[in-house]
Symmetry: C2
Subunit: 222 residues, 2 copies
C-alpha cells in the first residue's frame, strides 16, 4: 500500500480514538517526523482527511476537526429517515444469510468484551444494516454519520444498563427485519436513534466537568 494511505489510516485512527485532541494543531513538519515520511504523502493524507472532515484548515494551519456536540441533534434528524428507509428496504431485499451475518456480529461481542469492541460493533451495526438495504448511497451516508458520531461516543460515560438497552434495541431491529415486518423495524430504528441520542446528550451533560478536565471544549452542548 502506498505510504500516503498508510499515513492517512494511522492519522485517521489517531483522530478517531481521541489520541489527537479535537482542535489540536497539526504541523506538517511534526507529522513528517512522526510518520518518518516526507511532506508529499503527508499533504496528500491531510487533503484526503480534510475531505472526510476529520481535519480542517484554520487559516493556513491544519487542525484536528473539533467536536461540535451541537450537531448531535441534526445528526439524529439526518439518520432517522435514512435508517428507517434502510430497514424497510432490508426487509424486502436482504437474504437470510446476510441477516445472519449481522446477527453473528452482535453475538461475537459478549458482555466481557473490551470497550473498543463495544464501540466498534455499536457503529458497525448501523452500517451493516444500511448495507442490507442494497443502496450504496445510504451506506455511505450512514458510514459518514457514524464516523461523525464516533468521537462523541468515546466521551460518553457508559453504564451497564444503558449499554444493555442499546443492545436490546439492536436485537429488536434485526428481529423485525428477520420477521419481515418493515414498519415495526422502521419504528424501532427511529426510536433507537432517538434513545441513543438522548442517552448520549444526558451523559455528556452530566459529565461537563469531566470533559473540561480532559481538555475538551464542550462547544455546542446545550
Amino acid at each position: 500500500m502506498s505510504q500516503m494511505l498508510q499515513i492517512h489510516d494511522q492519522l485517521r485512527e489517531m483522530i478517531l480514538s481521541l489520541d489527537l485532541g479535537p482542535g489540536e494543531r497539526l504541523t506538517e513538519r511534526w507529522l513528517e517526523s512522526r510518520f518518518e515520511g516526507s511532506r508529499t504523502p503527508i499533504r496528500a493524507a491531510l487533503v484526503r482527511l480534510e475531505g472526510e472532515e476529520l481535519v480542517r484548515r484554520d487559516g493556513r494551519n491544519w487542525i484536528v476537526a473539533p467536536i461540535d456536540l451541537g450537531e448531535l441533534e441534526a445528526l439524529a434528524e439526518f439518520r432517522i429517515p435514512l435508517e428507517t428507509t434502510a430497514v424497510r428496504l432490508a426487509c424486502a431485499r436482504a437474504s437470510a444469510a446476510d441477516i445472519a451475518a449481522v446477527e453473528e456480529m452482535l453475538d461475537a461481542c459478549q458482555s466481557g468484551a473490551p470497550r473498543e469492541e463495544w464501540h466498534r460493533v455499536g457503529t458497525d451495526f448501523h452500517v451493516e444494516i444500511a448495507r442490507l438495504s442494497g443502496n450504496p448511497f445510504i451506506v455511505k451516508a450512514i458510514k459518514g454519520a457514524m464516523t461523525r458520531l464516533s468521537r462523541a461516543r468515546w466521551l460518553e460515560v457508559w453504564t451497564e444498563p444503558s449499554r444493555e438497552q442499546a443492545w436490546r434495541e439492536h436485537r429488536r431491529i434485526l428481529g423485525f427485519i428477520k420477521a419481515n415486518d418493515p414498519e415495526a423495524a422502521a419504528r424501532e430504528a427511529a426510536d433507537h436513534i432517538t434513545d441513543t441520542r438522548d442517552r448520549l446528550l444526558r451523559s455528556l451533560n452530566e459529565d461537563r466537568r469531566g470533559l473540561r478536565a480532559r481538555g475538551f471544549a464542550v462547544i455546542g452542548l446545550r
Copy 2:
C-alpha cells in the same frame, strides 16, 4: 485563493460540464501544462476531487469518474427519504423570506434562458429546499446527490413539455411549503423525484445511439 483550489475548481467544472469525458485518462503531466502549475498543487486537487468521487484511480492512473447510469435508481431511492424530510422540516422552520428567496430563484429563470441556466437552477432548487430544513447534513447529502446526477442530466434530451412539467412540480413543492402543508409537500417532492428519474431514464434509453455516438459508455443503463 490558493493555486490548488483554483485548479480544483476549474477541473471540477470541466468534469461536470462533460468538457472532459467520463472515463478519460488524466496524466499529471498533461494537467501540469494545461493549468501552468507544478504537480504539487495538481496532485492535491486530484486527491480532493477523488474524495468527491469526480476523479478516480485506475491502477496507478487517474481517470475522470465514469458515469454509471445504473445508479440513477439508487440515487432517487436515497433522495426521497431525505427530501421528504427536508420539506417537512422546511414547513416547520423556514422563514417567509427564505422561501421567497427560493421563489425568486425560480422566477429568475425564464423560458428563454440558456440551457446552462436551466440546468443550474434545476439542481440548485433541490439544494436550496434542503437548506430550508436547517439541517446541514441533509444539505450536504443532497448537494452530493445532485452533483452525482449532474452529468447524466446533461445527457438528457430536454423537451419543452418535460421541462415545463419539472417546473410546475418545483412550484407546487414550494407552494405547499409556503402553505405550511408538510404532508402534501412531502408527497409532491417524492413524486417529483420519481417523475424526474423516469423522464431521465426514458430519455437516455431513447437516445442510446446518440450517447454512443458522443463517445459515452452507457454502462449500467438497463
